[in-house]
Amino acid sequence: MPKTIWTPTRRRFIASSSTLALAGLAAPGLAQSRFPNRPVTLIVPWTAGGSTDAGFRALAEATQKHLGERIIVENKPGAGGTLGPAQMAASARPDGYTLAQMPITMFRLPHMTRVAFNPLTDFSYVIHVAGYCFGTTVRADSPHKTMKDLIDFARANPDKVTYATPGAGTSLHITMMDIAARQNIKWTHVPFRGAAETNAAVLGGHVTAQADSSGWAPLVNAGQLRLLATWGKNRTKTWSSVPTLQESGIDIVANSPFGLAGPKGMDPGIVKVLHDAFKKGIEEPEHMRVMDQLDQEVDYMDTATYETFVKKMYEDMREQVERLNLRRS
């Protein structure tokens, strides 16, 4: 029986000791390793203030009370979100005190170019968290009312349609390439740096369209931008009248699902402690509310399911890279 620090009343003692006993059964790693006993660092490989960062800060806040230690969000942006996790895999100890978000680029980049990490062998996957809400927008006064309008216009006027994305090689860029390949049209990619710039570019009329994660939300809600399609499997809760890409006749689902992982070789007991705490954190109403506001769709998977999912995603990315001929060297 673990020692209790405070002097409990009898009823509370019984209640708490039974939960502790249950917890002890469920998490064998807890008692012997006393994990965690210092703050856990969560690497977010995007800049502070972006939608991924905002979501993870809310998740960290919601999870730390279940974990019993502070979770410190550390922004290590770069290399399309691969720099942070790759550095972690190369240098952090697999003690559970360092975790990173695993963006989809971790599974795509290895097929495109030589990288120093292997997503299948260099990480201990913990939990799958959510996916983004991507969408295509045009300015409110644009003649293009639907995705089909935009594609028809692009077909009639090759290379005339320009679209802004938050960067070269992002899922937004690649999905737009995929759409062009499948629809047999040509449009021109203009890579910006982040949602702030793509919003300004489409609002200012410098590009025809914008493909970005939901940074456009406030402008769409205010009626300054028109949302042509969202890219998820289902319509979004917030913009339920806006069709998906599939409903617009383009058989693509893109939401760049992401989860958390640590360096390879983490103790399964520690993974379990982290998984359990983050699962509770994900389900916290405050976290759900922030995710709703960021239009990220929570998509929980446990450790084993996530590991299987990772293998499938890696193969899907190989297929996409080969089909679109994205390999650089």
Partner: protein, 500 residues
């Protein structure tokens, strides 16, 4: 009247006891992180962000905004005293600010920086209230071609940054451009000059480069020369401005404010660029440009006003469109979202209490900053009389902590030390660090926008001339280069002629 009524409501909110406290806490923390080299507002705000979850959104935003503009205030202090820019926007302040300190006029430099900051901060707020809709339209008119032309104009200012040789400035600026290329190319996502080092994928950080070139190099230089400190300490009795100082700096402050306000609204380093532009402008219109770099008070007053005005006007795109123009305000946007505030064009109508409360708190915060900073000047100046043997190790330690804190990478410490040694070595042959910093900051933005503009125009270079705004910048760039280079070339010719 409506405006005044709303502002009145804002003041009622800002002057509530809670919000006064949050405002004070914000500007105090901001001043401190501004003074500490390397530890910028981003580090402070992300550390404090979780702590704001417990307080109401208005209080949280008031405090976080206070940290931001407070740090702009504080950044000048170390720049003037020990030639270490607290943040990138204070690089220019080092040039004449530290020279003034060496002449025993540190008090005057700090004073003019504080007054300039206060004036600029307040004017920027009035502009924020009155001009926000107009400014937004102007900002949206800026496409890649316009940005590219503006960056070109910025790069031409190098001609005005040099103390001695234009050629040496150009060499340093070219070096800065090359250093700015390191990392993942922003158009094709291919690595450049990274030598397969993961640390270089993101390029090298501005903070370690600047701290090395200015701070570490200055320490090395002083160690080598063994400066006699009695000269410095003997003359620092006077803290107030002389009337000559005041006459020299008052219009510089006004010009800096206007420049900063206009440039601050543009995404990507508006504060840094505006401080460089302001310095160049002051030097260009000065009747005695030769004083610049040797302790000209206008060279402190203008840029300091510019970077503070830019800090204020940067709120315009954030508040009216939900578009953050720099990394610090992106963090603030994240905080707004976490606090369930509807960001975007509807924010002002949906949450007028928050918008006007925050605007009013910025007036209050600017007054607090002035009251906080003026008495501190005496204290800061006394720091100069600390013997080198104690002062230098402390500065070195603070630099190391600051650089490590801003990135969390030991690699950045090596970068700082390398650039320190480099800066010290090249200074012996008269090469100055400021043009390098300008090239390093503007280069990547210039390249990215140039290539985007050419993608959009399908390879036609005429786009820079056909678009009126960009044409204005291109013509201005040519004029600047011509006015700066022609006299210099003529002088060289004469030199050669006399030699023959």
């Amino acid at each position: 009247m409506d405006l005044l009524g709303q502002l009145g409501n804002g003041f009622l909110i800002a002057l509530s006891l809670d919000n006064l406290f949050y405002c004070f806490a914000g500007v105090l923390i901001g001043t401190l992180v501004g003074v500490l080299p390397g530890i910028g507002p981003i580090a402070a705000m992300s550390l404090l962000l979780p702590a704001t979850f417990a307080i109401p959104p208005t209080g949280a935003v008031i405090m976080l905004a206070g940290i931001y503009y407070g740090s702009m205030y504080g950044g000048s202090t170390t720049a003037i005293l020990v030639r270490i820019p607290g943040e990138a926007a204070s690089v220019v302040t080092c040039l004449d600010g530290h020279e003034m300190a060496k002449q025993g006029r540190a008090g005057a430099a700090l004073f003019v920086a504080a007054i300039g900051s206060f004036f600029a901060g307040t004017v920027a707020l009035v502009g924020l209230m009155l001009l926000a809709p107009v400014m937004i339209a102007a900002a949206l008119a800026f496409g890649p071609a316009e940005y590219c032309a503006l960056m070109l104009l910025g790069l031409c200012l190098i001609a005005y940054l040099s103390q001695a040789s234009v050629l040496k400035s150009l060499i340093m600026a070219g070096l800065g451009l090359v250093l700015g290329l390191i990392g993942i190319d922003s158009i094709n996502a291919l690595p450049r000059l990274t030598f397969d080092r993961l640390e270089l994928l993101d390029g090298i950080g501005l903070v370690p480069v600047v701290m090395g070139l200015f701070g570490i190099a200055e320490i090395l230089k002083n160690l080598e020369q063994g400066t006699d400190r009695t000269v410095v300490t003997a003359k620092i009795s006077r803290l107030w401005l002389t009337s000559a100082d005041w006459i020299a700096s008052r219009w510089a402050i006004v010009r800096g404010t206007l420049l900063g306000f206009v440039l601050g609204i543009l995404p990507g380093g508006g504060a840094v660029i505006s401080s460089f532009v302001s310095y160049a402008l002051e030097r260009r219109i000065s009747k005695t440009p030769e004083r610049f770099g040797k302790g000209a008070i206008e060279g402190v007053a203008g840029p300091e006003a510019a970077n503070n005005a830019a800090a204020g006007s940067a709120f315009i795109p954030l508040m009216t469109l939900g578009i953050p123009p720099n990394a610090v305000l992106a963090l603030l946007l994240g905080a707004l979202i976490i606090h369930n505030v509807p960001v975007g064009p509807t924010m002002i109508t949906q949450r007028p209490d928050l918008f006007w409360g925050v605007v009013a708190s910025m007036y209050v915060g600017n007054v607090m900053l002035l009251v906080l900073n003026l008495p501190l000047i005496g204290l800061w100046v006394r720091c100069l009389s600390v013997p080198y043997g104690i002062l230098f190790p402390m500065i070195l330690l603070l630099c190391c902590i600051g650089v490590y804190a801003s990135s969390g990478q030991i690699f950045d410490l090596y970068v700082m030390i390398s650039f320190g040694v480099f800066g010290w070595l090249v200074a012996r042959w008269g090469y100055e660090p400021a043009p390098l910093v300008l090239g390093f900051v503007l280069g990547p933005m210039f390249e990215n926008n140039l290539r985007k503009a050419l993608i959009l125009s399908r390879g036609s270079w005429m786009t820079f001339i056909e678009r009126p705004l960009s044409a204005v910048f291109v013509v201005a760039s040519v004029l600047i280069l011509a006015t700066a280079l022609v006299p210099w070339i003529n002088a060289k010719r004469k030199e050669m002629a006399t030699e023959e």
